[in-house]
């Protein structure tokens, strides 16, 4: 773990050069241990692919104290990733109607549309990071066969619930927003609902799998086309 200054009230710890479920799990464990050790003097934390940003209250503590606590909290454990995080299954209505890039992606990959859908469902994905917009979870890794580059021209408007692929990442858009990811389906489950507790079905460190549903089931679950 390499610790760097981020600002006068923040520091960042880099756990690895490359993300992996093991690195992700180590970041989670370190975050939990640090919060237990430092409590109120930690204002916020941001878990990402291979790093942990810690924002502290500089009137209560300082860079050196947080750095020491972070070293103490650093998890050396090499547990397998499969026993970490909850498994959350998200329903997806995959179709050309709900996923406008599905056939182009299949064509580029040399696969049938059904094969793309199958491969997307086969994998268990790790929630590596949450950011970009409230409730936007970066999920990895997508099978190499269906990895796809971002669109040359991003869409001005991606619908809420859009299930998308960019490189070896996949995600569900929590709200209508611009976006350049390849859209392959729609998920009726809200990924961010400010009026609900918890407001998100997943947190960083959880695992996600996708399950194909029919058009009727999608509509019955509150999905909108």
């Amino acid at each position: 773990m390499r610790i760097e200054i981020a600002g006068d009230s923040a520091l960042i710890a880099y756990f690895s050069e490359t993300p992996s479920p093991e690195v992700s799990q180590r970041i989670q464990q370190t975050q939990v241990a640090l919060l237990a050790l430092m409590g109120e003097s930690i204002v916020d934390t941001v878990v990402s692919y291979a790093s942990l940003l810690i924002v502290f209250n500089p009137l209560q503590t300082d860079f050196w104290a947080v750095k020491n606590a972070l070293v103490q909290s650093f998890s050396h454990e090499n547990t397998t990733a499969s026993d970490a995080g909850r498994l959350v299954t998200l329903p997806v209505y995959y179709s050309e109607e709900s996923g406008p890039d599905l056939s182009a992606l299949a064509l580029a990959a040399g696969l049938s549309v059904a094969e793309v859908i199958d491969i997307h469902q086969q994998q268990e994905y790790r929630v590596y990071a949450i950011g970009f917009a409230p409730g936007f979870a970066y999920l990895g890794e997508v099978d190499q066969r269906i990895a796809a580059a971002r669109l040359a021209t991003p869409r001005m408007k991606v619908p809420r619930g859009a299930v998308a692929i960019a490189d070896r990442q996949t995600a569900v858009y929590p709200a209508v927003s611009p976006g350049g990811w390849n859209l392959i389906g729609l998920c009726p489950q809200r990924m961010f609902d400010p009026d609900k507790t918890p407001s998100m079905p997943v947190v960083a460190g959880d695992r996600v799998s996708f399950e194909s549903i029919t058009r009727d089931e999608f509509l019955r679950l509150g999905g909108e086309l």
């Binding site: 760097e4 200054i5 981020a6 600002g7 006068d8 009230s9 923040a10 520091l11 960042i12 993300p19 204002v43 916020d44 934390t45 941001v46 878990v47 990402s48 692919y49 291979a50 790093s51 942990l52 940003l53 924002v55 500089p58 009137l59 300082d62 860079f63 990071a129 949450i130 950011g131 970009f132 917009a133 409230p134 409730g135 936007f136 970066y138 709200a175 961010f192 400010p194 407001s199 998100m200 947190v203 960083a204």
Partner: protein, 311 residues
């Protein structure tokens, strides 16, 4: 117990001290861009330190008091009138029910803070009522104020009228120096690039918002561009491939993937966020130890300042 927005001016947002502890679901901090002016507006009225008020950018706000109350206007230098009569900033101002408070347009700085005794009564979402328009969160409906909006006020006792001595009022300049602690990817920047960053002037570009201040000047691009996305803290100086620095502020996205040379220290940020397009920025380096010292000194000095009573 309320105020009515007669005109919202250029951009008026409800802000408390910000939203903390929710980066894990992707929610940004929000909060007042000038935390100094925000602090003084509440302290002048004897409010809680994080009581909600209005942040008005550039000016043009007009409010009607629907109850006898006390208000304070701090921040950017602006003409303030109550029922057409010019009044002073940085002090408590009595208003009777039916009177109008009117802000002109900023002459120095660009963000004014309008607080009311007791603070605005706004429902919190995720522990704060700070408005972040991009996320549609905070304020009354996640949006800026509009004409006709009624803003409820929290009940408060009698508020003695106080003023901040002139010598202690922040001044807003068109050329500022911001202190930066080197950090994050500083190792990716060469000594020459760092020397350039700390010696050349940068100009505030026209495309600045509550997410970040884009600057224009000598380019300091690193060759390294493919970073894994990572957390971004307040004041982080991000340098995209064109080498033009962007200082990320209150409404920044929580994670991003551009190289960062370090961060502007918290107590200097208001100098930046009060600047309008075309203003000049210089950067100077400060160690983390000095930055912590400066912060504590500034905090102690501020606590010790005594407000003057107005007869």
């Amino acid at each position: 117990m309320s105020l009515t927005v007669k005109s919202p001016g250029m951009l008026s947002l409800i802000q408390d001290s910000g939203r903390f502890g929710y980066h894990s679901i992707g929610l940004t901090t929000g909060g007042p861009l000038d935390s100094e002016a925000f602090y003084w507006a509440n302290r002048l009225l004897g409010n809680e330190a994080d009581a909600a008020m209005i942040e008005c950018t550039v000016g043009g706000l007009k409010l009607i008091a629907n109850v006898d109350t006390v208000v304070a206007v701090t921040g950017a230098v602006v003409e303030v009138k109550i029922d057409g009569q010019p009044v002073e900033q940085w002090r408590g101002l009595s208003m009777r029910a039916g009177q109008a408070l009117e802000l002109g347009y900023a002459k120095e700085g660009c963000r004014c803070y309008v607080a009311v005794a007791g603070g605005l009564q706004v429902k919190q979402s995720f522990g704060s009522c700070s408005t972040v328009m991009r996320e549609g969160i905070g304020g009354l409906d996640g949006d800026k104020l509009s004409a006709g909006t009624v803003l409820p006020i929290k009940p408060s006792g009698t508020t003695p009228l106080k003023r901040l001595p002139v010598d202690h009022r922040p001044r807003y300049h068109k050329s500022v120096t911001l202190r930066v602690v080197l950090g994050y990817q500083q190792a990716l920047f060469s000594d020459l690039q760092k020397a350039t960053f700390f010696s050349e002037p940068y100009k505030v570009s026209a495309s600045c918002d509550r997410m970040g201040y884009r600057l224009e000047g000598a380019a300091i691009a690193t060759n390294e561009t493919a970073l894994l996305s990572e957390g971004i803290c307040l004041g982080a100086v991000q340098v995209p491939a064109d080498g033009q620095p962007i200082v990320l502020i209150n409404d920044r996205q929580t994670i991003g993937g551009y190289p960062k040379i370090g961060s502007v220290i918290g107590i200097d940020l208001y100098k930046l966020t009060q600047l309008m397009a075309g203003a000049e920025v210089f950067f100077s380096a400060i160690s983390i130890e000095e930055a912590h010292n400066e912060l504590h000194l500034a905090h102690c000095r501020r606590e010790k300042i005594e407000l003057l009573s107005i007869e």
